[in-house]
Symmetry: C2
Subunit: 359 residues, 2 copies
């Protein structure tokens, strides 16, 4: 087992990464404060892992809330229904929420934990690679609004994150690849050595070799941690983590969240960010191809299937919440492994990139 | 003008207390981050003070959201409607919310600020005595649930609190008295000198003498601050501030929030807490009478108008969220000016108190 410590003063916690962690009962129970536990999961994940969780919690009062699977459940209505159920129990302020599932479950369960009686503890048990390398670090929680993703939410750190690699054995290949998009992103932001490691060891990763998985998840968590510790509330450098996300969110919104998984949209967004960085003269065509190659090898998309009107995409990018005072803030690359936040990109160049991909 | 500084690391802020502060434009504008401002107020307060606020904000993009007046608007539906309106603007992450009104406006506007795009700045302009001495200090925000008050919320500190004493000139007498209940509470918790001052100077306070108001508001804010700074997230001593509130919330819920104002219910709750403290042998009958006298002089209730079933009240007290692991935690008085948190009060004594008042 590997541990990644997230140091945020009294909100510090550990991420535990390894095999068979769900069988380690004390790992789970040592982070509970009271006797009540609410497990929030979904219809896909619960049949696979809920029983293991319940076995660890025989001495606790356990309530289970199951959502249907998918991003569409991540809204204020579902949030409100979960709150209603917890109040009906009634759950007290020492109740702990366990989020068992992917990013959607972690985000909505975390937002419930952030706001139920002004905040109760929660434990993340992420079961997708995407959640393991992204949403389990940094304390972002929230739900979507019809107009945009994660428009409503809070920062709320978990007590602990338990990343059991065995859960990846049941994850479908497309979801696994979507998680790799975020892993590759960390290499691109500020860790060229990691990017090269991924290029050279992608086969082991794709075959879910335990050592390779432990390495990429730990390194991704550490990478995100180093940025989050500098900037917990996303006032500055944390925006680097949005590499590929402003383009990606626009694509997800334009395709109504059904055509692409989040990680796939981020892969497309990174390709677009690379293209725009090339147009600015920062990276060259060979860098773009190198990125495309690793994404393709990870079975990630590098082009849209259907054209999307560039004007629509541009407007959706503006609506993205990573916008300051009306100007568009983008994360681009000075080189592979050196991302930067830019606020004054020539709009014609942005449109050229969008036309190249989307038109 | 008097200033009370609330020291909470990077979440520190000042409370400004004085006359004609709404005419001091730079006091308001110096705490704004971006160009967008959303003023959240209600139909009663807006006609009185909105124009003054708007005059200070001529150089900003100002959006106004008016709620109907009253505790019934403080729910998830109203919250969701405010979020919808802000997204429709669209408001960005540097938008500042100004809460112009009493506790209901401050609580719901603060919760919107806590969660809109995971948190944006807000400024409190409390216009009731209750809000000025209570909700403007400590960063509690939230909304009610049909089952109980403030079941959903977050801790989110304002950038600044502007307490203009002139707003009290339009506050009706009953609301003013309700605010005094919380002022008297601070004396009871840990400041017997302040309690005596109130006894001796209540006439000046009731006639809204500016110096007396500045003193009681400043002293109340300092008192709450000293407790909140020790315990921002209400893990321990902050619970002392709930003196009178567990009884009071039960009364409010039993009377469906229409019969008593919050401060009036707190006054009743303090009388009950005193009675229970007397039954425990901690204070004597003379202390109880002394408390009753000051409450009556402040035109606050010391008895229920209609009987409420003690069993119903007892159950509602248990449902109150200040409950840890099923046991009932109460704030009682060792003496006037020395409140304590107690978890193991003999239930028969509690029932005797409830029967004495409610049966």
């Amino acid at each position: 087992m590997n541990e990644v410590h997230i140091a945020l003063d009294e909100r510090s916690y550990d991420i535990h990464i390894g095999k068979a962690l769900l069988s380690d009962h004390s790992l789970l129970t040592s982070s509970l404060k009271g006797r009540q536990v609410v497990v929030i999961s979904n219809e896909t994940v619960a049949p696979l892992y809920l029983e293991q969780i319940e076995r660890a919690l025989v001495d606790y009062e356990v309530h289970t809330i199951l959502l249907s699977d998918g991003e569409h459940t991540k809204n204020l209505n579902t949030y409100s229904e979960i709150i209603d159920q917890m109040i009906a129990v009634p759950c007290d302020r020492r109740c702990t929420i366990i989020a068992l599932g992917g990013g959607v479950i972690g985000d909505i369960a975390g937002f419930v934990a952030a706001t139920y009686q002004r905040g109760i503890p929660f434990v993340q048990v992420p079961t997708t690679l995407l959640a393991q390398v992204d949403s389990s670090v940094g304390g972002k929680t929230g739900v979507n609004h019809p107009v945009g993703k994660n428009m409503i939410g809070a920062f709320h750190q978990p007590q602990k994150v338990i990343t059991d690699l065995d859960t990846l054995s049941t994850l479908d290949d497309r979801q696994f690849s979507a998680g790799l998009a975020e892993v590759i992103k960390y290499g691109l932001i500020n860790d060229f050595v990691f990017f090269q490691w991924i290029e050279q060891n992608l086969e082991k990763v794709m075959s879910k070799d335990a050592d390779a998985l432990t390495f990429i998840i730990s390194r991704s968590c550490e990478s995100k941690r180093d940025i989050v510790e500098q900037d917990e509330q996303e006032q500055g450098v944390r925006a680097l983590l949005n590499l590929g996300h402003t383009f990606g969110h626009a694509i997800e919104t334009a395709t109504e969240y059904v055509e692409w998984l989040h990680g796939e949209a981020v892969a497309l967004g990174m390709v677009m960010a690379a293209d725009l960085s090339r147009r600015l003269g920062w990276i060259d065509q060979a860098d773009c191809q190198r990125l495309n190659q690793v994404l393709v090898a990870a079975r990630l998309p590098v082009a849209l299937r259907q054209p999307i009107d560039p004007v629509v995409l541009r407007k959706l990018m503006q609506g993205d919440k990573k916008v300051l005072d009306g100007s568009l803030r983008l994360v681009l690359m000075k080189s592979l492994g050196e991302a930067v936040i830019v606020e004054d990109v020539d709009n014609e160049l942005i449109m050229e990139t969008l036309q190249g991909f989307a038109g």
